[in-house]
Symmetry: C2
Subunit: 341 residues, 2 copies
DNA sequence: AAAAGCTACGCAAACGGTTTCGTGTTAATA
DNA sequence: TATTAACACGAAACCGTTTGCGTAGCTTTT
C-alpha cells in the first residue's frame, strides 16, 4: 500500500528543503534548472499531488460549495443540482450536497456543519418547514459572516442575498390565458398551502389571468392540498363536485393524479378537460396523454446560481459593500396532449 | 461583517495561551475551573466553532465521502444517493457528489480531484464508457493508496473492493417465470448493449428462465438498444415484427415506451401483452396502466454502501490485510396493471 | 583585491487546530 | 525547612503547503 507522498518525503529523499521542492514544482525562477528537473522527475515518478486540505487551510478557500435542498428524489431539484454541479466543476469547485428533507432542524444542522470552513458558499432552496416557520436566523448567521449565499426557487425576502427565481406569476398567468384562449371557462387551480413562496406567486398569476378576462374567481375551484401527500379522496371529490374545463397544477404529481382520475371516469383529456402542470419533468413527458407543462429549466437555474455564487466567492473587494441581484429564469410552456390534440 | 473567530483570537482576548483555550473548550481536566468557565463563556458568546479544515489536516480525516455516479437526473441513482446521504449524515459525514456523465474522462478527473485529501473514501457506480473501455486504472490507483472504495450496481471484477449489488439475474428469472406462469410464451427482452454488468446478468436470468421451462430462446426476441437513446423506429419495428405475449425491460424508460407504443396500436395491456420493467421508479407508479416493476431498493443500497465504506474508513487495523465483501440487496416485484388487472 | 551583484537555496512564519511534554507556583508531606 | 506532589498553564511540535526574506558562495566589476 503506497501511502500518499508529501513535499517532506520528496525533500528528504532528494536532500533538499521543503521550500525548494515546493518552488521547484511550481517552476519558480528561484530554483536552478538541475534541481527543478530532479524534483519534477521525482514528483512525477511518485505521482505527487498536493494535499487539498493543506492548501485549503493556507488559502482559506476550500473550492467546495455547499448545496442544501429539501429533497433530491425530485426531478426539479435534481436538474438544478445538475446545473450547479456542471458549472461548479468547470470552475474547479466541488459540490457538497445536504438534503434538508423539508425539515427546519436538518437545514440548520447542515448549514452549521458546512459553515465552519467546509465550503466557500451556499446555494439553497428553503425547506417547507422553514418557510412555514418563517425563521431565517441560520441564513442570517451565514450572511453576517460574509459567506456568500444564493437562494433559488423557494426564497425569502427576509434575507438579503443573491436569488434565482422563475417568473412564477407570469407563467401561471400565461398558462391560464392559454386555457381561456381555447374557450375554457371553468378553470381550477390545484396548489399547496400558501406558505410556499412559489405557490403564492402562481396563485396570484392564476387570479390575475381570470380577472383580466373578466372571469369571476370561484374560490371553490382553488384546491389547496397539504404538501407532499396527495389526498386522493379529496381530489376525487374535487373533480366530481366541479364541472371543470381546465386545471392548472403547481406541480406534475397533482396534474398526473388529476388526469388519471378523470380519465378513469371516462372524461376525455383534452377534449373535455385540459391540464397544465408546473415542472416539465419526466412524468409530463411520459404521461398519457403527454402533460402540457411549464418548463422551469432547472439546469439553467442551477448554472446561474452557481455562477452568481462563484462570482461572489472570487470577488475580492471585501471592503466595498456588496450588492445583491435577483435573476429570473424565463419559463417555457411545453405543449402536449393534455391541452391539444 | 463578523469574521470567523479562532482560538488565537480568544487566547489573545483572554490573555491565555492557545493551548489553554483549546483544552478549556474540550473541558480538559488540566485546566482550572475558572479559566474553563471564562473561556467557554467567551466562546459561546462569540459563537466559536473549530475550523473543519484545520481539524481535517491534523486528523488526516476529512469526514467527507466522495460519490461518483454516471447521472443524477435518474431515479435509481437519486435514490441510492439519498440512502448514502442519510446514513453518512447520521455518522457525521458529508457527501461530495460528482457526476461522471457516463464519461470515462470525467470519472477519472473527478476521482483524482477528490483523491488528494478531499475525501476519506469513495462510493461509485461505473460510467458507461468506463465499462465499455474496461479500463479501471483510476480505481486501482485509489485502492492501492489504501483509500476505501465501494462500488454499487455497475461494478467490475477487475477491482478488489466492497460491492453492493442487486440479484439481477434472479430478479430477471423471477419476472420471466411470472410471465410463464400466466401462460405467456412469446417473451421478449429489451436491454442495452451488454458491456453493462447489470444487463448481462439480467439477460442471463431471462435465458435461464426460458430454458428451465423448455422454451427455446428466440434471439430475435432480444432487442439491444444503444444506451440512453431510445430509437423509436427500431422499437416500433420490433413490436410490429413480433407477436409478443410479454416483454421484460431492463429499465423503466424502455418499458414505458413500449407500452405507449403498443397501446397506440390498440393492443391491450395487460390482456394481450404484459410488461415488466426494472427500477421501480416514479414512471412505473404513474404509468397507465401502472408498470409492474422490479424494485431495486436504491435507498437501501445507498445505505448499505455508505455503511460498508464508513466501516472501512474507521477501521484502524491497517496492518492486517483487509477483506472485501459483496452485499446483495434483494429485489421485490411490485405488481401493477401492466401484468394483472 | 575589495566591493557589489547574482544565483540557488534554506529558514521560518503562517493557515487553525490538537496534543505531548515541560515548568512555575502552591500546597502537602517528611 | 527541604522535598515532593498536584495543579494550572504555556511552549512547541505537528498536519502539508506557500512564500517572504535571509544568506552562502560564486562571479563580476572597478
Amino acid at each position: 500500500m503506497r501511502t500518499k507522498i508529501t513535499l517532506k518525503h520528496i525533500a528528504k529523499e532528494l536532500g533538499v528543503s521543503i521550500s525548494t521542492v515546493s518552488k521547484a514544482l511550481k517552476n519558480s525562477e528561484e530554483i536552478g534548472r538541475e534541481t527543478k528537473e530532479k524534483v519534477q522527475a521525482f514528483a512525477k515518478l511518485y505521482n505527487y499531488r498536493p494535499n487539498n486540505v493543506a492548501i485549503s487551510l493556507k488559502n482559506k478557500r476550500t473550492k467546495n460549495i455547499g448545496v442544501i435542498i429539501p429533497d433530491i428524489v425530485h426531478y426539479f431539484f435534481t436538474t438544478v443540482f445538475r446545473g450547479i454541479e456542471q458549472y461548479a466543476n468547470k470552475q474547479g469547485y466541488n459540490v457538497i450536497v445536504c438534503v434538508s428533507d423539508e425539515s427546519f432542524d436538518k437545514e440548520v444542522i447542515n448549514m452549521e456543519m458546512l459553515a465552519n470552513g467546509s465550503v466557500d458558499g451556499f446555494i439553497m432552496s428553503l425547506s417547507a418547514e422553514t418557510q412555514k416557520k418563517n425563521d431565517f436566523n441560520h441564513l442570517k448567521e451565514i450572511t453576517d459572516q460574509g459567506i456568500p449565499l444564493v437562494l433559488f426557487d423557494r426564497v425569502t425576502n427576509e434575507i438579503e442575498c443573491d436569488k434565482v427565481l422563475i417568473n412564477d406569476k407570469e407563467a401561471a398567468l400565461f398558462a391560464v390565458n392559454k386555457f381561456i384562449e381555447n374557450g375554457r371557462k371553468k378553470i381550477a387551480l390545484i396548489t399547496t398551502e400558501d406558505y410556499f413562496s412559489v405557490s403564492k406567486a402562481r396563485e396570484a398569476g392564476y387570479r390575475e389571468a381570470l380577472s383580466a378576462s373578466n372571469i369571476q374567481v370561484d374560490e371553490s375551484l382553488i384546491m389547496k392540498l397539504p404538501f407532499m401527500e396527495v389526498d386522493k379522496d379529496a381530489l376525487k371529490a374535487f373533480f366530481t363536485n366541479n364541472r371543470l374545463d381546465a386545471v392548472l397544477c403547481v406541480n406534475e404529481i397533482f396534474a398526473i393524479h388529476g388526469m388519471n382520475l378523470v380519465q378513469k371516469k371516462g372524461v376525455k383529456v383534452p377534449e373535455d378537460i385540459a391540464f397544465i402542470g408546473f415542472t416539465d419533468g419526466i412524468l409530463s413527458k411520459y404521461a398519457n396523454p403527454g402533460l402540457t407543462s411549464i418548463a422551469q429549466h432547472g439546469e439553467k437555474m442551477g448554472e446561474v446560481a452557481a455562477k452568481m455564487l462563484i462570482e461572489k466567492i472570487e470577488d475580492e473587494k471585501e471592503d466595498e459593500e456588496v450588492t445583491y441581484r435577483t435573476e429570473i429564469i424565463e419559463t417555457t410552456l411545453i405543449e402536449r396532449g393534455s391541452t391539444i390534440n
